[in-house]
């Protein structure tokens, strides 16, 4: 009896010891991700900050690193973001309304849902090939902003649809029932009650989708190619370049100076992305629907 108890206690100490070791291992694992993130940010800041100045933001690319800037890429990114949103938001919200409010429960609805979740997993370069064939080629849009925006629009459409569906689903049923009780028809209820209540969620999803879109390089690269632009696009049919492509261009050059420019470009891109995410988080917290029974 005595012996069994000591054996148990010895085993218990061992089990607790192993538990402690693993606790430390798990902590280290978390540390790997966080340390990786911090190292990346420090590397970017150290290399990029010396190159970041007003001249850099307001000049065109150049063969001479000290004269180079990212104006055309910055303006291209803003253009692309606006055009992409103009296409993808109405379509994405429309699809979300259909799936949440109108769709019958049948095989076609099921197919659309499965299809959307699969589209979210298609590699972005494949969207680039789609855009290259259909928008650049068949629709004869050329290597233009519009072709790029339509391609990115399709790429982020699943994100907009999924976020909007969630926002619409979060609107309490009592809202709809109250409107129906007043004699509104389905579209009136959707337009007048559901959509306004869902707008913060839709906006958050849209901002996140746009921040995905402006960070994408692969599909845009397939469409715009590596252009050396010393003008700012003025119409949707102009050729264009965007920040990630300009960064890619600088990274792939062997000289150290261009690596510094790439880092400075990355800082600009990350600042834009972080501020977009901050706005999204603010909107989510500010307008979160409180579902009061």
């Amino acid at each position: 009896m005595q012996q069994a108890t000591t054996l148990f206690h010895r085993r218990l100490r061992l089990r607790k010891g192993v538990g402690d070791v693993f606790h430390i291992l798990f902590l280290l694992a978390v540390f790997v991700g966080i340390a990786g993130l911090l190292t990346l940010l420090v590397q970017v800041l150290v290399q990029g900050l010396p190159w970041l100045n007003w001249h850099f933001l307001t000049s065109y690319p150049s063969r001479h690193p000290e004269q180079a800037g990212l104006l055309s890429a910055l303006v291209g990114t803003v253009w692309l973001m606006v055009l992409t949103a103009a296409f993808t938001v109405p379509v994405g919200v429309g699809a979300a309304i259909y799936l949440e409010e109108y769709a019958p429960k049948n095989w076609l609805t099921r197919l659309i849902e499965v299809n959307i979740s699969n589209l979210a997993g298609v590699p972005s370069i494949v969207y680039g090939l789609l855009g290259l064939t259909i928008f650049v080629g068949w629709m004869a849009l050329g290597r233009s902003l519009l072709a790029g925006a339509l391609t990115l629009g399709l790429l982020v459409l699943p994100i907009v649809i999924m976020a909007s569906r969630e926002a619409i689903r979060a609107v309490p049923w009592t809202y709809r029932e109250a409107a129906y009780a007043l004699g509104a028809d389905k579209w009136q209820v959707t337009k007048g009650v559901v959509l306004p209540a869902a707008i913060p969620g839709v906006l958050t999803g849209t901002i996140l989708a746009m921040s995905r879109a402006i960070g994408e390089a692969a599909p845009v690269l397939a469409i715009s190619a590596l252009v050396y632009l010393t003008f700012v696009p003025t119409s949707p049919l102009d050729r264009f370049t965007v920040l990630p492509i300009q960064i890619f261009n600088w990274v792939t050059r062997p000289q150290d100076e261009f690596r510094g420019l790439a880092a400075a470009g990355i800082i600009v891109l990350l600042v834009i992305l972080l501020s977009m995410n901050a706005i999204a988080i603010y909107l989510r917290n500010r307008y979160q629907i409180r579902s009061e029974g």
């Binding site: 606790h23 291992l25 978390v30 699809a95 997993g121 298609v122 590699p123 370069i125 960070g215 890619f248």
Partner: protein, 288 residues
Amino acid sequence: MESKLVHWLLFGCALLSIATTLGIVVSLLSQALGFFREVSIWEFLTGTRWAPILVPQSFGVLPLVAGTLLVTVIAAAVAMPVGIATAIFLSEYAPDRVRRIIKPSLEILAGIPTVVYGYFALTLISPLLQKVFPDMLIFNALSAGLVMGLMIIPMVSSISEDAMLAVPRSLREGAYALGATRLEVALRVTVPAALSGIIAAFILALSRAIGETMLVTIAAGATPKMTFNPLESIQTMTAFIVQLSLGETPHGSLEYNTIFAVGLLLFLMTLVMNLLGHWVVRRWQERY
């Protein structure tokens, strides 16, 4: 009348997603077929030399597939243990306060554009690795794979953690009542109960790694090669597509159509993995 019109309009929006899938298939197939008229599918899938723009030409895609898998395996070797351990820590160990700081910080990793990871691999990780392996080229599969592993950690950890959080407290409490330690509860109760979600997280993260483009284009090199040596420069399927679409290859030529054949293969590989991932979640999910 108006409501009928609205109904159809909304239906059209939803159908656009189907049209997108069709568009992908049609645009890839139409040009890949042009390629397969001149190069047999068998030669494409089993050939071990990829040299579409060299003389003599050769169209065996296996070197690109090998390069893709090599980088993916390295990424998985980093992201799987780290991702799962992170998920276990967040769901079983971390107090709520800590969780609320760590989780969003890790998700920043998932939001960073992939060209930034390419820059990171090329300008910091590769030079560091060269100190350990002096003969290694600056472009290599190892540094691209390691950084890709870092990139997909949040994907593995957040899907796994969601699955672990869905395991009911009562199961854990039952095990604690029997005298299990925290580690035993985590490894013998939570992880097995959440296994379908964890496996799905793996599959989806791998599919993401296979389709990742900019990181490998920048850091892994441009030399298609049948090798499993991570210190060598290789080329992935995605990096090849970028390389060729940036070149001066004329539209419609055999060389140009290779990107659609490679794109089709890439699309099918990731599609199978995504379907499998979603299927695992649905089929094996434990319901409580």
